[in-house]
Symmetry: C2
Subunit: 265 residues, 2 copies
């Protein structure tokens, strides 16, 4: 009931429900006409490297906004927000290892923290659905897609380097061209796919062995389509072993005030 | 003759001609199908602020690439380039004041220098011309437009804050809608205009008094159209009084290897 109410709510209303702990689960399907975002918080010392990394790799890291150091608000995409309380779940990484998952991070916040919010594909899942393009994994709540490391190297920046991570969605062959055309209009939600068809072309040698998420095999009339994935910066920050990074928990996104229609190019 | 040859050359060929001092004048009309760019070099200490400023103000500061500190190459947009020699002219600002204009900056280069290249409107001047949209100022070599400070405040970031600077082009009323539609497809070259018509709406109280460039009055069948201008970051860095900033000289741009067609959205 609350889910239904929040699915038609604004980004601001969803953030409020999360902040007041009325909503503590994934944000999948909430504030349906608003852009949702991945979160990455890094110490200021690494922020310039990380910002260059995002700028150089816009498909996996489509940057929506970067905070000022120590300021927990995102004044452009979500005025009045508090990044420490407005997501339903956070992951804390230290020295490249996941340490804990927590519902709030006020106790961890420091004045040298810089928050990055990056567009995520939840947004175009909504759009593909509206356009009548079916996706098997969306039939379940918390529907997860198959996520893989590839052999596509990101453009490095400072301490950050490593492979692009992609999400695979089986798409009906009759819909593939249209799905690509539609998503290409949303570069701030990863844009068009990076590959179509056999995953071995991009280093995915056994599709059943996912690195994250869950494998859904394509049915007979479907083909694999691979979009760049917002897990990339997390994977790369972990590989770099920087002393600290705080992110959203899987599916527990930051909901902005930006309308999906406003990021269409 | 050399101009004609270079007008059909690649970005790489133009950079070579400049580096070898075969070409020392403005880049207007050179490498016509390639993206030209504004340059801003700041000390690393200010680079994260400046990068956030660009990210927050994409109309005046459409970021094409940011270098690693101390690296004079732009590896993504211009592999093999050297930012210290590949522009025909540079301006050196110290503590907010223009100190000198120089043809090369090898002697000034330091390992804490970070280069930003930002899309410029020379690119869409080419495109508007190709589409048959006349612009009076392009009839002259080194054609300059009227450039003004406005009352539109940029989104601040760190030490950088101040008003947006715009360039005014008189456009035939019959062509205005099409000119807007075309330029809107090039967000990396300032995109669509920020204002159309009476400049007083954006704080330009006397159009004949330019802040930079030269005023061309609209003819009877023309109307003023204002696009965000790449002078903005220079004006703002000067106002902030940061100890050092090196830019291109007016019209002496950095020519990239990126095709204009590749930045169309």
């Amino acid at each position: 009931m609350l889910r239904e109410q929040l699915s038609n709510a604004t980004g601001k209303q969803v953030r409020k429900a999360i902040r007041e702990r009325e909503w503590t689960r994934t944000t999948h399907g909430l504030a349906r006409s608003y852009v949702q975002a991945n979160l990455a918080i890094v110490p200021e010392q690494y922020a310039f490297d990380f910002l260059r990394f995002c700028q150089r790799n816009p498909k996996p890291c489509p940057l929506l906004e970067v905070s000022d150091p120590g300021n927990p608000e995102m004044p452009i995409t979500a005025p009045g927000s508090d990044i420490r309380t407005d997501l339903p779940g956070y992951r804390v990484y230290r020295n490249g290892a996941l340490i804990e998952e927590v519902p709030r991070i006020e106790h961890l916040w420091r004045k040298d923290h810089v928050s990055f919010i990056l567009g995520c594909s939840l947004s175009f899942d909504e759009i593909l659905t509206d356009e009548g393009i079916a996706q098997q994994h969306l039939k379940e709540e918390n529907g997860r897609i198959a996520v893989y490391k590839t052999n596509i190297e990101c453009q490095p920046a400072g301490v950050f380097k490593g492979p692009m991570v992609v999400g695979m969605r089986p798409i009906a062959r009759k819909d593939v061209a249209r799905a690509i055309e539609i998503t290409s209009h949303y570069p701030l939600a990863h844009g068009g796919p990076v590959h179509v068809g056999d995953g071995r072309d991009i280093g995915i040698n056994d599709a059943t062995k996912v690195d994250w998420g869950r494998y859904t095999p394509p049915s007979e009339d479907e083909i694999e389509v691979y979009w760049a994935c917002g897990v990339t910066p997390q994977a790369i920050a972990m590989a770099s072993g920087i002393p600290e990074m705080i992110t959203h928990s899987a599916g527990h996104m930051f909901v902005t005030d930006i309308k999906l229609s406003a990021i269409r190019t």
